[in-house]
């Protein structure tokens, strides 16, 4: 049998031991903190654990049926009517024991296709629509993306269930209707219309090649047009749905026929308010249908307790259908309904509830004072919320949902931060949110702790205890760094210091613009925070930096596909600076082309598929009469340029600099030949492992590249507080953060840099040859943007923090650092304090984000071999937590391979 890389290196006296700072115990160690939720929650969680992701056509059918009837209507009204009909026809479903009710679709973990965005990907591979999608590159990434084979993923068809996109199960009785509905959108979807017009960009062919080579993983205009933002629940909480309709009717009378100085879109306000009314009526009908079903169940249920609960549910729904909520549970139900409503309006990943502990606090405070609520009842509801959020699925293609998102939908909740006056915003409810997260450890909502020096010590220690449960949350985000970024980006749109303090995380770790609004409850006023910015999941997506370098080395041709991607540069690349310079030129070409083509897709989206519900919720749409598509939001400069594979690029550039240019040990041609020959190893897919250490030599390998491979593996690496490599990171960040602002969104505003990987490091690594740092073909990149490549950070965690903080993180929307720690390294309260010290040290150095996987790598290996024993094992991937069994193999391998710290 061919030797694995770790064996080859071991023979040469080089250890690929991925443990740092000590040695893990020989026996498998479980996480220290283990808690249980309330019995009611446990029962519902058990249902979830045995539930398949399921889809049907109900929403799709009614949306399409209504939309097709109104082809001469004003587009925003036409869309609102279609949405109203779709919401009004959703079948209500209740599961015994629920207190927070309503579901996206009529399954526990339900979703539905939106062919008005894209209809090609769920066609059969032989279908001409699918072939077209493949040609234009939008299906290429599906070939490099895989879902985990366990959990709720329906990866294969069985019995009467058809697998769609490798994740969703649909009854075969629904398939003919799905295909008929999809074909009705052919040529009309955002995907098709966008493609029709993006082809008019002179460089369109380059974009097609970029997508086919998987330099970029996906377009957002027709996949996930919204998301990675913070929702705003304020208006329904303050005014209720009837109040919003009243407001919209009054505004209609005020603006009808008047441009009010805006000759472009001033007149549109009338139609927008009309759309708002249709949308709210749809929401009310949806709630009403649930209320009626609750009454029906109340009438047939014999169990007295359950019967009373159905009655209570019906009463709450009947109230919030029209009125602002009065109590904690009514308010919680209202925000749950709004959240699911927004997620049904569009394909969205990363619709974050924001600081719900601060939004719900007024109700919590008053109910506790009045004796209407106990802390234990609030805790139970917070635990239930985790079942609701984890059950949210987003229906999109394999490449997007699997390859990019690992099936997660990123409903991130924020705690901490500062209040309007600059003091700690932590309140008692936020302690309970952390307790609930430990009691009911489920992937969602993942939690972002908005760190500031003013936050109470016991709150931070509690956060460390939750992290030790292995849930992967809370992640720590640095408030001062975020505030500085927000002021730079949104100052020109009028953001104030007070506004900045209301910030929260949208998606996994996107710094998002929010504002305070004043809520009135029983004569008392509260300032509650909420989102006020556009999606940040938009712009130029996930550019594979190591792949761009590959194209530089091979003169614009992808050696994997043999296709020309960029114009040949024909440079000799005689110096390191020349390589860097060409890299930047190809980078800029990529950003430019993707910005233009994505702008067109989003422009089609805003013309035909604009958000109505999400818009009306956010300041200041209801006030100014403009929705998202007419810059109705308070802050609109949210489009970004996303990098991927930062550290693999840095390490590769460091190896080229050291081995080829400084020490001149080999020529660039020899290095390229070694890369093409994968340093004598098989491709990762052949080995079926995506971790570097497990790669195997080719049977025919003569050992020609052995020496060079050793050298590049030992070249300077990021993560060791070694300036040789870290300076390259600094150079990159200084270039990238400034360059990103040169691209303009369709809203005429500058873009900014975003540095998260999600799961792209797996799929993109799969399409990238070996890299000059010694990484082999098809293996994953280093995860995130500040994480070290597995096994290369050998000087301890503080050295890694020094490397990561070499640049000014406030120049970017985010950065991301993941660290894996063995449970024994942080045992007991002393361990929690050490973990807090480590975290605080990074925050004080100006790092933006840090998060931890507290897990024994042996457990992950065992889970890979025996997934049936680990249905509930959760791991932190990159900005999100996911069930191990629902993650694709490449990312699983990378998680196993990450350096495990045995001491902090």
């Amino acid at each position: 049998m061919a030797k694995k890389l770790k064996e080859v290196l071991s023979d040469a006296g080089i250890s690929m031991d991925l443990q740092s700072g000590g040695k893990a115990p020989d026996q498998l160690t479980d996480r220290e903190i283990k808690r249980e939720p309330h019995p009611r929650v446990k029962k519902l969680k058990d249902i979830f654990m045995d539930t398949l992701s399921s889809a049907n056509n109900e929403f799709t059918y009614w949306y399409t049926r209504e939309y097709m009837q109104h082809d001469c209507e004003i587009p925003v009204v036409r869309r609102a009517k279609a949405l109203k009909s779709a919401f009004a026809h959703l079948t209500p479903t209740f599961y015994p024991g629920e207190l927070l009710v309503m579901h996206k679709a009529s399954y526990f973990r339900g979703s539905f296709p939106m062919p008005w965005l894209s209809e090609g990907f769920y066609m059969a591979h032989e279908d001409e629509f699918y072939q077209e999608a493949l040609k234009r590159g939008s299906a290429s990434v599906d070939e490099h993306s895989k879902f985990g084979s366990g959990g709720g993923n329906v990866t294969k068809s069985f019995g009467k269930v058809v697998s769609i996109a490798g994740k969703f199960g649909m009854r075969q009785e629904e398939i003919p209707a799905l295909l008929k509905l999809a074909k009705m959108w052919y040529g009309k979807s955002v995907d098709d219309l966008g493609n029709k017009y993006e082809k008019m960009v002179p460089e369109y062919k380059t974009k097609e090649q970029i997508m086919r080579s998987i330099i970029c993983m996906f377009d957002s205009g027709f996949t996930l047009p919204q998301g990675r933002e913070v929702i705003n629940y304020y208006y329904p909480l303050e005014y209720g749905f009837d109040g919003i309709i009243k407001m919209a009717n009054e505004m209609k009378a005020k603006v009808a026929g008047k441009a009010d100085g805006d000759g472009m879109v001033g007149m549109n306000r009338l139609y927008n308010y009309e759309a708002v009314i249709f949308m709210i009526e749809g929401m009310q009908k949806w709630i009403n249908n649930y209320a009626k079903e609750a009454r029906r169940l109340e009438s047939i249920t014999k169990d007295a307790k359950q019967k009373a609960e159905y009655k209570g549910i019906a009463e709450r729904l009947e109230w919030i259908e029209h009125n602002p909520p009065r109590t904690f549970i009514e308010a919680f139900q209202m925000i749950e309904t709004l959240h699911l409503g927004v997620l049904n309006e569009d394909a969205i990943s990363g619709m974050s509830p924001g600081r719900i502990g601060q939004i719900l606090y007024p109700y919590f405070e008053q109910d506790i004072e009045a004796g209407r609520l106990t802390e234990d009842e609030a805790l139970e509801l917070l635990e239930l919320d985790r079942v609701v959020k984890t059950s949210i699925d987003c229906f999109a293609s394999t490449g997007v949902v699997g390859g990019v998102l690992s099936g997660n939908t990123f409903n991130t909740l924020s705690v901490g931060g500062l209040d309007k006056f600059g003091q700690s915003a932590v309140n008692r409810l936020e302690y309970l949110i952390l307790e609930a997260a430990a009691n009911n450890a489920m992937p969602q909502s993942t939690i972002a702790l908005l760190y500031d020096e003013k936050l109470p010590e016991d709150f931070l220690i509690l956060a460390m205890e939750v992290i030790k449960s292995g849930a992967g949350y809370p992640a720590f985000m640095n408030t001062p760094v975020a505030q500085e970024f927000l002021m730079k980006q949104y100052g020109a749109e009028g953001m104030t210091l007070e506004d900045v303090r209301s910030w929260a995380i949208g998606g996994c770790l996107e710094t998002s613009a929010c504002v305070w609004k004043t809520l009135h409850l029983n004569g008392k006023e509260y300032d509650i925070p909420g989102g006020a910015g556009q999606p940040t999941s938009v712009g130029v997506h996930f550019i594979a930096m190591p792949k761009v370098l590959e194209l530089v080395l091979f003169n614009g041709v992808d050696p994997r596909t043999k296709e020309k991607v960029y114009e040949a540069h024909n440079r000799k690349l005689e110096t390191y600076d020349e390589v860097w310079d060409q890299f930047k030129l190809y980078w800029q070409k990529t950003c430019e082309v993707l910005a233009w083509t994505n702008n067109i897709q989003h422009d089609i989206w805003r013309k035909n598929n604009m958000a109505v519900l999400n818009s009306l919720l956010k300041p200041d749409c209801l006030d100014n009469g403009h929705l998202i598509n007419e810059l109705g939001y308070r802050f609109n400069g949210t489009f970004n340029v996303e990098s991927a594979g930062t550290i693999t690029l840095v390490n590769s550039m460091a190896a080229l600099k050291k081995i080829v240019y400084d020490d001149k040990e080999v020529t660039l041609e020899e290095m390229k030949a070694a890369i093409v020959d994968n340093f004598g190893f098989k491709d990762a897919r052949e080995v079926n492992s995506f971790s570097l250490a497990d790669q195997e030599r080719k049977d025919s390998d003569s050992g020609k590249w052995e020496k060079l491979h050793f050298k590049v593996l030992q070249a300077p690496k990021y993560g060791n507080d070694d300036k040789y490599a870290d300076q390259i990171l600094l150079d990159w960040e200084n270039f990238f953060c400034e360059d990103a602002t040169h691209y303009e969104s369709l809203y005429g505003l500058k873009m900014y840099p975003c540095q998260i990987s999600v799961s792209t490091h797996g799929a993109m690594g799969s399409a990238t040859l070996a890299t000059a740092d010694g990484r082999l073909s098809g293996t994953t990149y280093a995860d995130a943007s500040m994480s070290a490549f597995p096994g290369t950070d050998r000087n301890g965690p503080y050295a890694l923090l020094n490397s990561a903080s070499i640049w000014d993180h406030s120049k970017s929307q985010n950065s991301q650092l993941n660290i894996k720690i063995h449970p024994t390294a942080i045992k007991g309260i002393e361990g929690s304090k050490k973990l807090l010290d480590l975290t605080r040290a990074y925050m004080r150095k100006g790092g933006f984000h840090i998060q931890y996987n507290i897990v024994d790598s042996k457990m992950l290996k065992d889970a890979q071999e025996h997934p049936e024993n680990y249905r509930d094992l959760m791991v932190r991937v990159a900005g999100f937590t996911q069930y191990w069994v629902e993650i694709g193999k490449s990312v699983q391998d990378e998680l196993i391979a990450r350096t495990e710290y045995e001491g902090v």
């Binding site: 399921s54 209500p92 479903t93 015994p96 009854r171 209707a177 249908n289």
Partner: protein, 88 residues
Amino acid sequence: MEKLLYRDSRNYVPIDVTKGIDHLTGETVMADKEAPKGYEVMPKCKNCANFKADGEQMGVCEGSMSEPKFFAYPDMVAITCDMYKEVK
């Protein structure tokens, strides 16, 4: 009389595409299993007077306002449809 499957019964709530809960017993049951006698029929297009079959899994909704009439499919749940008229 044709046998009634759980997934065609009003007393059943689907958990996913394969199974659900019998609201009367609280038990988890398979979607394609026969429901006990006396269970209520789920309003679905196939049980509606407005549904005109056109092939095994496709048909037309006569209640549709558009011309030509919009398609419908027999398995769609019609609990929330105002035009639903149960075939007697």
